[in-house]
């Protein structure tokens, strides 16, 4: 969208990096990019290397695949083994390890698992295969959750009775609250997820500044957007103020997307949820409203799920809280690689471990 030539981009980037270094001075600053898409953009553009050493960027719990707990995968795998079930899922879920298998392995053994790009394609499958129970794996944050909710509303209107969601949607603001209230992440400021914010607007983040005195900037995804957002965070820190600013105004209106919020709250309500590596967080997920519970796979299709086991040695939980960098995990780059992921952070291209592996090669092997 932003059209500048390389020379112009380089000059603007120079401006931001110089100002960031000036504002940071000698103090150590730790900023968290919450969103997996930011993590990838930061690595691709080499932004960490552009920042002074005392300004550190850590990745947060914003990769939907990464925060989906093992138990969810185990349940999806158990469903996929039922002959009357068809699983419809976004492609990035296939390789995520459950306790003893993956959806990809089940598919190779004949389970009926279809990759879709949208919840509506899941709904189409339900129409095309009336003899199957089609279960859509509904994961993701506030950007994706309204799209799953919209499919449920359409299924209701079209009276489709063989479409279900296995839901593990997560909400971003409660996760940030959990990080700050635990105190161990020591984050001085947040780069807030642009597309989540396009849905929910700015108000749900106000507590960051009001209750925790932590600056936050809703950030776009181009390298210059990210540099500008880091610069805006440092300006706040330098002036000793904390507020929620919006760098990504071309996409994110202050009030978000009211239609999407309404669809979401029609179908869902906030509920406690389990996050991989982070634990059980109050009101950090979504459960279906009573009227739509007939679309909830768990409530309607019985299934026996194996006991959940965590992968030995995997540090995903600490990586997702910004406590350790991937290279600190003893498995990183050894037994755990994108071709053979041990933990979820190595699976999705948005995962921190995968980004370190792909873009950090040669630098992480210090």
């Amino acid at each position: 969208m932003l059209q500048m030539n390389n020379e112009e981009i380089r000059k603007a980037a120079d401006f931001f990096t110089q100002e960031i270094a000036k504002l940071a001075g000698n103090r150590s600053v730790r900023l968290m990019e919450v969103c997996g898409t930011h993590t990838v953009a930061i690595f691709k553009a080499g932004i960490r290397q552009l920042l002074p050493e005392n300004v550190e960027l850590v990745s947060g719990p914003g990769c939907p695949v990464c925060v989906t707990p093992n138990n969810y995968l185990d349940t999806a795998i158990a469903y996929s083994r039922k002959s009357d079930v068809m699983i419809a899922t976004f492609g990035d879920m296939l390789k995520v390890p459950g306790s003893s298998s993956t959806l990809a392995a089940e598919k190779a053994q004949g389970a009926d698992i279809r990759i879709v790009y949208s919840s509506l394609e899941g709904l189409e499958l339900a129409k095309r295969y009336p003899n199957k129970k089609v279960i859509f794996l509904a994961v993701g944050f506030e950007t994706t959750a309204p799209t799953a909710a919209a499919a449920v509303l359409m299924a209701e209107v079209e009276k489709i009775t063989n479409f279900y969601l296995l839901s593990s949607h997560k909400l971003v603001p409660p996760a940030l609250r959990a990080l700050l209230s635990s105190g161990d992440s020591k984050v001085d400021g947040f780069l807030l997820p642009g597309h989540v914010s396009a849905m929910i607007g700015l108000a749900p983040y106000e507590f960051l500044s009001k209750e925790y005195n932590t600056p936050a900037v809703v950030a776009g995804f181009e390298p210059l957007d990210i540099l500008q957002s880091v610069y805006m965070l440092l300006r706040q820190l330098d002036c000793g103020v904390a507020k929620v600013e919006n760098q990504y105004r071309r996409i994110v209106p202050k009030e978000g997307n009211p239609a999407a919020c309404e669809v979401l709250s029609t179908v869902y309500q906030a509920a406690d949820a389990q996050w991989r590596g982070i634990g059980h967080l109050k009101k950090s997920g979504l459960a279906m409203q009573e009227k739509y519970q007939k679309f909830d796979a768990l409530l309607n299709i019985p299934v026996a799920v194996e006991e959940t086991k965590e992968a030995k040695g995997c540090q995903c939980g600490n990586v997702l809280r910004g406590l350790v960098l991937p290279a600190a995990c003893p498995l990183f780059g050894k037994t755990c690689k994108p071709e053979h992921p041990i933990g979820s952070c190595m699976v999705s291209i948005e995962g921190t471990c995968a980004a370190w592996y792909k873009y950090g090669a040669g630098r992480w092997q210090v």
């Binding site: 969208m1 932003l2 059209q3 500048m4 112009e8 981009i9 000059k11 603007a12 120079d14 401006f15 931001f16 110089q18 969103c35 997996g36 898409t37 914003g62 939907p64 695949v65 976004f90 990035d92 790009y117 949208s118 919840s119 509506l120 394609e121 994961v139 993701g140 944050f141 950007t143 994706t144 309204p146 799209t147 919209a150 509303l153 359409m154 997820p193 597309h195 989540v196 396009a198 849905m199 776009g220 210059l224 957007d225 500008q228 105004r249 071309r250 996409i251 994110v252 209106p253 997307n257 239609a259 999407a260 669809v263 999705s348 948005e350």
Partner: protein, 75 residues
């Protein structure tokens, strides 16, 4: 998974739009963005248009970046 891409609304029929994304056309649901009009640039995520792209704000961002670049050059 949260990746969203910009596209241009070419046609709309009820809650379904034909949208051009990088030279390719796709059908996209307007259930989450009922106000989208033909000619609008919108952000698309998982088969749905989810937000209008404010061209004026995009211009402003660009202008700001260019201004900063001049500032950096004169320093």
């Amino acid at each position: 998974m949260c990746l969203a891409v910009p596209g241009k609304v070419l046609e709309r029929q009820d809650m379904l739009a034909t949208i051009e994304v990088g030279g390719v056309t796709r059908k996209v649901s307007l259930m989450l963005l009922p106000e989208a009009q033909v000619g609008d640039f919108v952000l698309i995520h998982a088969g749905f248009a989810v937000q209008r792209i404010d061209e004026e704000e995009a211009e402003k961002t660009l202008a700001l970046f260019k201004e900063l670049e001049e500032y950096a050059a004169n320093e």
